[in-house]
C-alpha cells in the first residue's frame, strides 16, 4: 500500500507544473475556432464517437472516477448527479445546461461559448447519452447575445453535419439542443428557477425534493450542469478519468477556470489545476495587485471575502479548504479589493445587486435582502448612521442566514457578515464620523 502511494506521481496543483496544459480554453481567443471545421481539425467529436460506442453507464462511471465536481458554484460531483436519474421508462429526459452565468465576477462560460461552442455541444451530447436524454436544453443568460449567436450557429452547423439530430453520428441515438435565452434574472442561475423560467413560468425556485432527476423540466427527469462542467466531459472521455484526476487535490480534482478581476494588473480568465494557491492566481496569473490590496473574494460576490494575508493567499483553491476557511470556491471568480476602497461602499454595491435580483418568493429575502439591507447601507453611507445601525445590520444578516427558501439570501448575507468580521472598523468609522475611512475616488481619473 505504501509503495502504491509512493509510486503515484505528485498531483498537478500549479500552473507552473510542466505537465499542465490548457485544455478547455486552448482555442479560446483563436480566430475562427468557433466553426465546426476548426473544431474537427483538432479532434472534435471524437470523444462523442467514443462515448456513443460505449455503454451509458460506463460514461457515468468514467465521470465519477474523474472526480469532476460541478463548476457552477456548489461543486456537486457530476457523475453522482447523473446517476440519480431514474431508470429509462419511456418518458422524455432532459440534459439541461445552465449557461445563465450571472454571478458578479464570473465570465468563464461566456468566452468558452463564444469561441469554442462545439466543445459544449459535444459535452451535452455525451452527457445526454450517459443519462439517456434525447433533448438538451441550453438556458443562456439573455445578455450573452454574442455567445447565443455563436451557439445557435454551431448547433445549426452540427445539425447539418449529423452531429446532432435524429441519428447522431450514425449511432442511432437521437439528440438535439434547444437554446433558450433568459431575460435578465440572477435567480435563473438557480437550477429550479431556471427550469421554471424555461417553461415560461415565473422564475421562482421550486421546492426540493423532488430534485430535477425526479421532476425537472416539465416535471420530467432532468439533469442540470454548468457549461464548464459539461465542456470538461469530452476531454475526460477522450483522455481518461486519470488524466483529469491527476490534477488537483484529493477533494477537488481536475481543472478550474479562475476569473480574476478588481485591482490586479492582468485581469482575465485563466485555466488552472485545482489546488493552485490564491497567491499564484493573484500574483503569477493576475500580475499582482495594481494597488495595495486588503481583501479578496475567492469565488464570486456571494462568497465571503478573505483578508489579503499570507494565511489566505497560501490557501489552495480546493472546495473543502476554502469552505473550512469560511468561504466558498463558488464559480472561481477572484476579486481583489484594494486598500483604499471603502469596504462599506463595496458591500453596498454587492447588496444592491442581490436586492435587485431577489425573486420575492420568500419573506427573509424579499424583506431583508431586497428592502432592508440596501436602505441600511444607504443610511450609513449618507452619513446618517449610528453605531447601533451596525449592530442591527449584523443581526439582520444573521437572521437571513440559512432561513430563506433558496441560497440567494445566504449569498447576500455572507459577504456582509464577512466584511463585518474583518472590516468592522470601517463600518464603525462611518457610523461615528459620517464619512468613510477611505473616501470614494474616481478610479477613471486617478
Amino acid at each position: 500500500m505504501a509503495d502504491a502511494v509512493a509510486e503515484r506521481p505528485k498531483p498537478i496543483t500549479s500552473r507552473h507544473d510542466p505537465r499542465f496544459e490548457v485544455t478547455l480554453y486552448r482555442y479560446v481567443g483563436v480566430e475562427g475556432a468557433h466553426t465546426l471545421d476548426a473544431y474537427l481539425e483538432h479532434g472534435g467529436y471524437e470523444a462523442a464517437r467514443k462515448a456513443l460506442a460505449s455503454e451509458p453507464g460506463q460514461i457515468v462511471n468514467t465521470v465519477k472516477a474523474s472526480g469532476l465536481r460541478g463548476r457552477g458554484g456548489a461543486g456537486f460531483p457530476a457523475g453522482v448527479k447523473w446517476s440519480f436519474m431514474p431508470p429509462v421508462d419511456g418518458r422524455q429526459r432532459f440534459i439541461v445546461c445552465n449557461a445563465d452565468e450571472s454571478e458578479p465576477g464570473s465570465c468563464k462560460d461566456r468566452y468558452l461559448m463564444e469561441d469554442d461552442p462545439h466543445q459544449l455541444i459535444e459535452g451535452m451530447l455525451i452527457a445526454g447519452w450517459a443519462i439517456q436524454a434525447t433533448k438538451g436544453v441550453l438556458y443562456i443568460r439573455g445578455e450573452y447575445w454574442h455567445a447565443y449567436e455563436r451557439l445557435t450557429g454551431a448547433i445549426e452547423e452540427a445539425r447539418a453535419r449529423g452531429y446532432l439530430g435524429a441519428n447522431v453520428l450514425d449511432s442511432g441515438f437521437a439528440f438535439d439542443i434547444v437554446v433558450h435565452r433568459g431575460a435578465g434574472a440572477y435567480i435563473c442561475g438557480e437550477e429550479t428557477a431556471l427550469m421554471n423560467s424555461f417553461e415560461g413560468l415565473r422564475a421562482n425556485p421550486r421546492l426540493k425534493p423532488p430534485f430535477p432527476a425526479q421532476a425537472g423540466v416539465y416535471g420530467l427527469p432532468s439533469t442540470i450542469n454548468n457549461v464548464t462542467t459539461l465542456a470538461s466531459v469530452p476531454h475526460i472521455v477522450e483522455k481518461g478519468a486519470d488524466w483529469f484526476s491527476a490534477m488537483g487535490t484529493d477533494d477537488s480534482k481536475g481543472i478550474h477556470h479562475v476569473q480574476i478581476s478588481g485591482a490586479v494588473a492582468r485581469p482575465g480568465v485563466y485555466e488552472v489545476p485545482m489546488g493552485i494557491s490564491y497567491r499564484e492566481i493573484i500574483h503569477d496569473l493576475g500580475g499582482g495587485p495594481s494597488s495595495p490590496a486588503k481583501a479578496f473574494i475567492p469565488g464570486g460576490t456571494s462568497c465571503p471575502l478573505f483578508p489579503y494575508d499570507d494565511e489566505h493567499l497560501d490557501m489552495p483553491m480546493d472546495f473543502s479548504a476554502v469552505a473550512k476557511a469560511g468561504s466558498m470556491l463558488g464559480t472561481g471568480a477572484v476579486i481583489v479589493i484594494p486598500e483604499d476602497q471603502c469596504i462599506v461602499d463595496a458591500m453596498y454595491n454587492v447588496t444592491r445587486f442581490y436586492a435587485h435580483e431577489s425573486c420575492g418568493k420568500c419573506t427573509p429575502c424579499r424583506e431583508g435582502v431586497s428592502t432592508w439591507m440596501p436602505q441600511m447601507y444607504r443610511k450609513l453611507l449618507s452619513g446618517r448612521g449610528t453605531p447601533e445601525d451596525v449592530d442591527v445590520m449584523e443581526d439582520v444578516a444573521k437572521n437571513l442566514r440559512g432561513t430563506a427558501f433558496c441560497p440567494l439570501a445566504d449569498a447576500a448575507a455572507w459577504p456582509i457578515q464577512a466584511s463585518l468580521q474583518y472590516f468592522r472598523n470601517e463600518y464603525e468609522h462611518l457610523a461615528q464620523h459620517g464619512t468613510p475611512l477611505h473616501p470614494r475616488k474616481d478610479r477613471w481619473l486617478a
Partner: protein, 834 residues
C-alpha cells in the same frame, strides 16, 4: 404503534409516513407560526415562519445500523445546520423537532420582523383585525418592536380585482395562498405575482377574475389584503355572530359560516366540511346573501282588503286563510313548496295537505325523473377519488362544489386523513402545478361548459339529445356485455355510424373509449343533472348505463333539498295532482311557499280566478300581487332545520340572527294555521317535525355528526311523475340552463349584479348577427311562456340556433319553446308571445 416515531420537544408521537413536520408538531399539541401553508393546498415554504430546529439519527453507510451516541447508547441525533421550514420537511423515523429553544424563537421572531417590514400595520382600520393570522402570530412570536425605520412600501390600497374582491397591496405578505389557490383548486390561473424582490405584488393579467370560485381567496388570505367587497367596512370580527350552517343555494350542501351583526347578514364565509366542500364555496353562494335584507322584504302578513294588501297580525292572517279554506272543496286545495325548503318544512307541508284532505302536494322545481340514485350512490369523496368520471350537464353552475371535487379527482390525490388537530396543514402529496389527469374526465353538455376545458373528452351534444346519447351508450354497453370480445364493425344497436356523430354528439370510437375507461376504472362515477332528469327516457338510460359499467351515481337536483323532499315524499298523491295541475286551473285554492308561478301571464290569469291564493314569500312578486293572503317567509339563512344534499347527506341548517320582522318558516306558518283551524299538526314546530323525520329516516336531525349523516337509499325507487311540460317544437330553441348565481335574487344583490351583470341571453355571434342583436343590449324574450328580461352575450361556446337562458326556480332547466321573432328590445315591455 404504527407509523413514524417523532419527538416534538418533550412529546413523542407516531404519525403516518409522509406527514409534514408541521403537522406532527400540531398533532403533538405544540405550535409553530405559519402563513403560507393552507389546508388542502400545496406547501411551498415561502413565508419561512414555521422554522424549527430539526435533527434525525443517521444510519452508518457501511453497516446499515443507526449511529449511536457514545454516552447514552441511543441513536445519535444529527441536527440540521440551519433551522428548517417544517411545512416542507417530511418526518423521518426518530426525528427530533425543537420548536421551543431560544435559537428557534429567535429565528421566528426574526421572521416576524421581516414580515412586518412592509406591512402597513393599519389594523385599526382593517377588516381582518381581530381575526388576522398575522396579528395573532406577531403577538405570539414577534419581539413587539421593529428596528426598520425607513419608509414602508407604498402600493395601491383599494385595488378592485373584481367587483367582489378588493386587494390591498400594502397589506399583502406574499404568502402566495391566493395564487396557488386559483391554480390548484378551481384550476383557473388568473392571479400571479408581478415584479420581483421587494416590489412584488399580486395582480391579474387582464381585468377581473374570470373564475366562479374567487371568493375563497378572501377566506384564506392570512391578512386583510384580500377582502370581500360586499362586507368590507361593515363591521369588526368580534362584533359578528358566527352561524355555522349549510348552503341552501344549490344541492352541493356546502358548509357556511354566516356572519351577522345588528340583525343583518354582513358576510358569508366558507365553512369546513371535509366530506363535502372542504373549505371552499362558490361565488354564487358567498356573495348571494345581500338579497336577504333588501328594502322590499315582506316582514308582516298581508291580507287583501278592498283590493289592497294591508298588514295584519299572524293570527288575523291565519284566520283569513282558515276561513277561506273552509269554503273550498278539499280536493281542490293545492300546497306547493320550493325545492330548497328544509325537511322540517317538507314535513309541515305534508301535514298541512293531509289535514286539509288534499293529495295536491308538491315541491317545485321537480324534474320528471327522480333525483335519487337507485343503485350505488356516489358521495363527494367518491367523486374526488374516482379514476373514471362521466359528467352529463354543467355541475359548475348547478353545484359548484361538485365541480371542485371533480378537479380533486384530476389531481389523483385522495382527500387527506384528518389528524389530531384536524385537516393537515401541509399535505406534502400536493404540489404546485401538479399534472392533471384530464383523461379520466368526460363531459357532455348541450353547450361548452367551463368544466370542459379540464376534460380529456368533451362533447357538445345536441340540445335535448341526452336521451339519444345515453340510450346509444347504454345499448353499446349492453351489446358488449353480451359479447365482450366481439368488435362489430356495423352497428347493430340502432345507431348507425353517422347517427353516432350527428344525433348524439360523439363518434362511436369516442363512445367506445368512454365505456372502456369507465369499465377499466376502479372507482367509476357518473354525474348527471337537470338536462338528464328533465327527460325520463334519458334518466332511465343513464341509470342503465351506470349499472352496465358499474359506476356509482351522483344526481344533482334542481335545488338544495330536492333529494330530501323527494325522499320524505313531499309529492302529489297522484301524477294528476302535481304542481303543474295546480296551476292549470284544477285547483281552487293554493298555498304556495316561495314560488312565483305568476310570472307566466297565462298562469297569472288563472291564479287571478282562484277562490283563495295564499303566498308564503320573502319578497313581493307577481304571484304575491295576486294573492289574497301574503305570509312573510324566512330565507335560507334564517331557518332552523336540515337539508339533504345531492349525495343524500343530511346537513344542518341553522338560523343566523337576522332581523326579518314577523317572518316565519313553513313550520311556523303551519303552527299558526293549525291554531286557526283548531288542530295540532305534525311539523307545527321544528321539534315536532323532527319527531316525524326520526321515525321516517331513522336519523335524529338534532344530533347530526360533524360531517352530516348519509341517508340510506330508499328501499324502492320513488314514483316518477309525468313530464311537467312539453319539450321543444316552437321555432327558435331556448335552452334554460343552470346558473350558480340565483337569478331570482339578482336585482336585490347590488355587488353580485355589478360583477355578474343582468341575467344573460347567451347565443352564438352568428345567431346574434342574424337577429340583429348586439352584445350588451337588453332584450325581452318569452321563454316557455315566461317573459324574461335578458342581456345579450355572444359566445362561441353556444351551438348554432340555441339560446341559453339562466333558470328561475319556476322554470327548471331543459329545452323550451321561444320565438325569436317576437323578441323585444324595449325596456320594461312585457309583450306576450304565443
Amino acid at each position: 404503534m404504527a407509523g413514524v416515531k417523532v419527538r416534538i420537544n418533550d412529546a413523542t408521537i407516531h404519525v403516518d409516513p409522509g406527514t409534514s413536520v408541521i403537522d406532527a408538531v400540531f398533532a403533538a399539541g405544540h405550535d409553530v407560526p405559519y402563513f403560507c401553508s393552507q389546508e388542502y393546498m400545496s406547501p411551498v415554504g415561502a413565508c419561512r415562519m414555521c422554522l424549527a430546529k430539526i435533527g434525525a439519527p443517521r444510519k452508518d453507510r457501511a453497516t446499515g445500523d443507526w449511529i449511536l451516541d457514545e454516552e447514552s447508547g441511543e441513536p445519535k441525533v444529527f441536527w440540521f445546520p440551519n433551522p428548517m421550514a417544517t411545512c416542507t420537511t417530511q418526518v423521518m423515523e426518530g426525528m427530533v423537532v425543537d420548536t421551543l429553544s431560544k435559537e428557534v424563537k429567535r429565528a421566528q421572531s426574526g421572521m416576524v420582523e421581516f414580515t412586518l417590514i412592509n406591512h402597513p400595520l393599519d389594523c385599526p382600520t382593517c377588516d381582518k383585525g381581530g381575526a388576522c393570522e398575522l396579528q395573532d402570530r406577531a403577538y405570539e412570536y414577534g419581539s413587539g418592536l421593529s428596528r426598520f425605520e425607513f419608509d414602508k412600501r407604498h402600493q395601491e390600497k383599494h385595488h378592485a380585482l373584481s367587483e367582489l374582491i378588493t386587494l390591498d397591496r400594502e397589506r399583502c405578505i406574499h404568502c402566495k395562498r391566493c395564487v396557488r389557490y386559483f391554480e390548484e383548486v378551481p384550476g383557473d390561473k388568473v392571479l400571479d405575482f408581478i415584479e420581483r424582490g421587494g416590489h412584488t405584488y399580486i395582480g391579474t393579467l387582464e381585468d377581473g377574475l374570470p373564475s366562479p370560485f374567487t371568493g375563497n381567496i378572501t377566506d384564506i388570505c392570512p391578512v386583510g389584503a384580500l377582502l370581500d367587497s360586499t362586507s368590507r367596512f361593515r363591521g369588526r370580527n368580534w362584533e359578528y355572530d358566527h352561524t355555522e350552517t349549510t348552503s341552501l343555494d344549490d344541492p352541493g350542501g356546502a358548509a357556511l359560516t354566516v356572519d351577522a351583526r345588528t340583525g343583518r347578514i354582513e358576510r358569508v364565509k366558507a365553512g369546513l366540511n371535509p366530506e363535502v366542500n372542504k373549505t371552499w364555496i362558490d361565488d354564487g353562494t358567498r356573495f348571494g346573501h345581500e338579497y336577504v335584507d333588501a328594502a322590499d322584504r315582506i316582514t308582516m302578513p298581508l291580507v287583501r282588503r278592498d283590493g289592497e294588501l294591508v298588514p295584519v297580525s299572524w293570527e288575523e292572517a291565519a284566520q283569513v286563510v282558515a276561513a277561506g279554506l273552509s269554503k273550498v272543496d278539499p280536493k281542490a286545495i293545492g300546497v306547493a313548496i320550493r325545492a330548497d325548503a328544509t325537511l322540517e318544512e317538507g314535513v309541515a307541508a305534508t301535514a298541512l295537505a293531509r289535514q286539509l284532505g288534499t293529495g295536491r302536494l308538491d315541491h317545485a322545481p321537480r324534474p320528471p325523473a327522480s333525483v335519487i340514485p337507485d343503485g350505488a350512490a356516489a358521495t363527494m369523496s367518491d367523486v374526488a377519488t374516482s379514476d373514471a368520471l362521466f359528467v352529463v350537464g354543467d355541475p359548475t353552475e348547478e353545484a359548484g362544489i361538485v365541480d371542485l371535487r371533480i378537479k380533486d379527482a384530476l389531481k389523483g390525490v385522495a382527500p387527506p386523513e384528518l389528524m389530531a388537530h384536524g385537516v393537515p396543514i401541509a399535505d406534502l402529496r400536493l404540489k404546485e402545478r401538479m399534472p392533471r389527469k384530464a383523461e379520466i374526465l368526460t363531459v357532455a353538455a348541450p353547450y361548452r361548459t367551463s368544466l370542459m376545458k379540464h376534460a380529456g373528452q368533451a362533447h357538445v351534444t345536441p340540445a335535448g339529445g341526452e336521451a339519444a346519447l345515453l340510450k346509444a351508450l347504454a345499448a353499446l354497453a349492453a351489446e358488449q356485455a353480451e359479447a365482450p370480445t366481439e368488435e362489430p364493425e356495423g352497428d347493430a344497436s340502432g345507431a348507425s355510424a353517422a347517427a353516432w356523430d350527428d344525433t348524439v354528439g360523439m363518434t362511436r370510437e369516442q363512445a367506445q373509449a368512454l365505456l372502456d375507461r369507465l369499465r377499466a376504472g376502479s372507482a367509476p362515477v357518473m354525474i348527471w343533472s337537470g338536462f338528464v332528469s328533465a327527460d325520463p327516457d334519458a334518466d332511465e338510460a343513464a341509470r342503465t348505463l351506470a349499472k352496465a359499467v358499474g359506476a356509482k351515481v351522483l344526481i344533482l337536483g334542481p335545488m338544495a333539498n330536492a333529494y330530501g323532499l323527494e325522499r320524505i315524499g313531499v309529492l302529489p298523491s297522484h301524477d294528476r295532482y302535481d304542481y303543474a295541475s295546480m296551476l292549470s286551473g284544477e285547483a281552487k285554492a293554493l298555498i304556495l311557499s316561495q314560488l312565483d308561478p305568476a310570472q307566466d301571464p297565462k298562469v297569472a290569469k288563472r291564479l287571478g280566478e282562484l277562490d283563495l291564493l295564499v303566498v308564503h314569500t320573502s319578497f313581493p312578486n307577481a304571484t304575491a300581487a295576486l294573492a289574497h293572503v301574503v305570509l312573510p317567509a324566512r330565507t335560507g339563512f334564517e331557518k332552523e332545520g336540515v337539508t339533504v344534499n345531492a349525495e343524500g347527506r343530511m346537513l344542518p341548517v341553522r338560523p343566523a340572527p337576522v332581523e326579518a320582522g314577523a317572518a316565519a318558516d313553513l313550520t311556523g306558518t303551519v303552527k299558526r294555521l293549525g291554531e286557526a283551524l283548531g288542530v295540532r299538526m305534525d311539523g307545527r314546530s321544528v321539534r315536532s317535525a323532527r319527531r316525524v323525520l326520526r321515525k321516517m329516516l331513522n336519523v335524529d336531525p338534532a344530533e347530526l355528526p360533524a360531517a352530516g349523516q348519509l341517508l340510506e337509499l330508499p328501499r324502492r325507487a320513488s314514483r316518477r311523475a309525468r313530464a311537467l311540460r312539453a319539450v321543444a317544437g316552437a321555432e327558435g330553441r331556448a335552452l334554460v340552463v343552470p346558473s350558480m348565481v340565483r337569478i331570482e335574487h339578482l336585482d336585490r344583490n347590488p355587488k353580485l349584479r355589478a360583477e355578474h351583470g343582468d341575467a344573460a341571453l347567451r347565443l352564438n355571434p352568428a345567431d346574434a348577427h342574424a337577429h340583429g342583436l348586439t352584445a350588451g343590449e337588453i332584450v325581452i324574450l318569452t321563454v316557455g311562456g315566461l317573459p324574461r328580461r335578458l342581456r345579450v352575450v355572444t359566445s362561441d361556446g353556444v351551438p348554432d340556433g340555441l339560446w341559453l337562458v339562466p333558470a328561475l326556480p319556476d322554470q327548471p332547466v331543459g329545452l323550451y319553446p321561444a320565438d325569436p321573432s317576437a323578441l323585444r328590445r324595449a325596456r320594461g315591455e312585457t309583450a306576450e308571445v304565443a
